[in-house]
Symmetry: C2
């Protein structure tokens, strides 16, 4: 799922995103709650009309942003008090309030409000976070006023402790959510630690319901998480990389501001069917970045989203054809991780 934090995937018309093969997109409750506010979004026809997007939309709970972005004043069993990054006002976010906001925003999939400590935080911190996450999940379930229109997913926390993760999953499964997410990963614990958690936890989540790994990740992360049973991902990487002039190719990322591309008349990725690769040369895209033209970020974001969607489409096709193991071990994209390799 490409990420449209403030109700827009930065610089993109909805038709351009649809043309990449994207089906579901994400918007952030935290940002939209602060600006323009959920009442405004509701009055303007809810998120589908607001974003001009006909396909499915998912909103997160605001929990991750509150813990990672904001100036937190207080966390207790009731919720979190923090200072708005827009106008400095003091805001109290509780599980019930997060759900009320998400009910107003009107996405198709909404998320429970969870406590997200650092994945490497000590065990006692993780234990308390799991306890709160479970207590809050119950409150969210009860507060949810539109269960027929919006699917509320539970979020498994527990840091790097598989036993805590499994205990959290068991309690959430007891609440019978229509989908389950693994949260609190890809926040600095490293690739191997993330895989260890997935190895231990994903199998415990119902196979007949969507399993969603939040905020992940690099192509390698996606392929290896799929191998462990994950169905859904969201990440800002393709669009953020694109805005920063980095384009994904099967051989690694290339940095379009690099002078060597100034007169390169090839597309970003040979054979790619995206509008960027069909219509523009590397040299022209480099010029747009050097001249501070919006078209540079727009084109590379689109290419990167298409790169990711083609990767996932190829992953699905390989599963259906019974050759995912071969794909995982031989496709050049399956090794593209945090250590960015420059192609060419």
């Amino acid at each position: 799922m490409p990420v449209g934090t403030q109700g827009t995937i930065k610089g993109q018309l909805p038709d351009s995103i649809a043309a990449t093969g994207s089906q579901c997109i994400l918007a952030n409750t935290y940002h939209l709650m602060l600006r323009p506010g959920e009442e405004t979004v509701s009055q303007l026809g809810e998120l589908h009309r607001f974003m001009g997007w006909r396909g499915p939309i998912l909103t997160d709970s605001g929990g991750f942003q509150v813990f990672s972005l904001s100036d937190i004043n207080k966390i207790d069993d009731e919720g979190v008090t923090f200072k708005s990054q827009i106008d400095g006002s003091i805001i109290h976010l509780t599980p019930a309030r997060s759900i009320a906001v998400q009910n107003k925003l009107g996405a198709d999939i909404i998320m429970c409000f969870d406590e997200c400590p650092e994945s490497t935080a000590p065990r006692d911190v993780q234990e308390r976070a799991v306890e709160r996450t479970i207590r809050w999940a119950k409150i969210c379930r009860e507060a949810h006023s539109r269960p027929d229109a919006q699917s509320l997913f539970g979020i498994v926390q527990g840091g790097l402790h598989v036993d805590l993760r499994l205990a959290c999953a068991e309690k959430l499964i007891g609440l019978d959510f229509p989908g389950y997410a693994v949260g609190g990963l890809a926040v600095g614990e490293g690739f191997d630690n993330m895989l260890k958690v997935l190895d231990g936890v994903v199998g415990a989540l119902p196979a007949d319901k969507p399993r969603y790994l939040m905020g992940v990740g690099y192509p390698r992360d996606l392929v290896e998480a799929v191998a462990r049973g994950i169905d859904m991902f969201d990440c800002t990487l393709p669009t953020r990389n694109g805005r920063n002039a980095n384009a994904w190719t099967p051989g690694g990322q290339i940095r379009l501001k690099n002078a060597k591309f100034a007169r390169d008349d090839r597309p970003v990725e040979e054979g790619c069917d995206c509008v960027c690769c069909r219509q523009f040369t590397r040299g022209a895209i480099r010029h747009f970045f050097m001249a501070d033209e919006m078209l540079g970020p727009i084109l590379l974001s689109l290419h990167n989203v298409r790169f990711y969607q083609r990767l996932m489409s190829d992953v699905r096709a390989s599963i259906e054809a019974g050759r995912f193991e071969a794909f995982r071990t031989t496709d050049p994209r399956a090794v593209l991780g945090a250590g960015i390799r420059q192609a060419d």
Copy 2:
């Protein structure tokens, strides 16, 4: 013609611009010569490939920008010496050099290098400018190395002096260009003065060749110039207005940053078929501007270009139907001028 100064209509994919009904687009020789340089554009497949645009492209000569934007060191009969706004280097632009650059850029229509004084400059300044413009037009015509691929238009100068304009036009017509432009207007002389010049000059330009009024303008300007025989226009107004949150409607411009639009669930212009009006509410667009999202400028630029293209399409239809005079005197858009009227 929408304007793509640096090789891109700011924030727009080519398909989005094509969907507004735009056929010919403009790029600026001055900017592209300085960055990325005409050799680079040439090597990247010339402007059509560089901009991803299959329709016609027009480049100006660089003259207007040299006179209006740059730090001029010297003007003489040979050309202009100025300091690059990109890197401060000293650049000498002559008629022959302008044409050589435009031959490299590869647009379908290219323009003679002219001297553009202020329209209100004294008569002796205008006389000298006309002399140089004519001398330079001859040089341009001889320097033009791709007459079969690129149509070179002459530019009529002469400020507000109709006799100078007519003398200039006569000399240029003697050089037999495939099209003629009226330059040096819409630069502060006022609506009535502009019309006086057009009244006196346009009829002297061949009716069987395109007559192009450069850098104009407001809807009213376009309609009144058409009434006087003008066929072609370019202007940055639709896109610049859009980037500044101002949207054209038949009742005047509306400023989308205005708080009154925060929960306005109507489209920018009722009944408009552009992507902005079909898919987004005024309230959502206001939010994109308040949140510094690129989508705000992108959507309003598209709407404004579509507004202008629909205006011109309606003008053409009214001419073909023999009812242009009624259109000109009764259509609400025909009075929209520099005094911006807020609709609603």
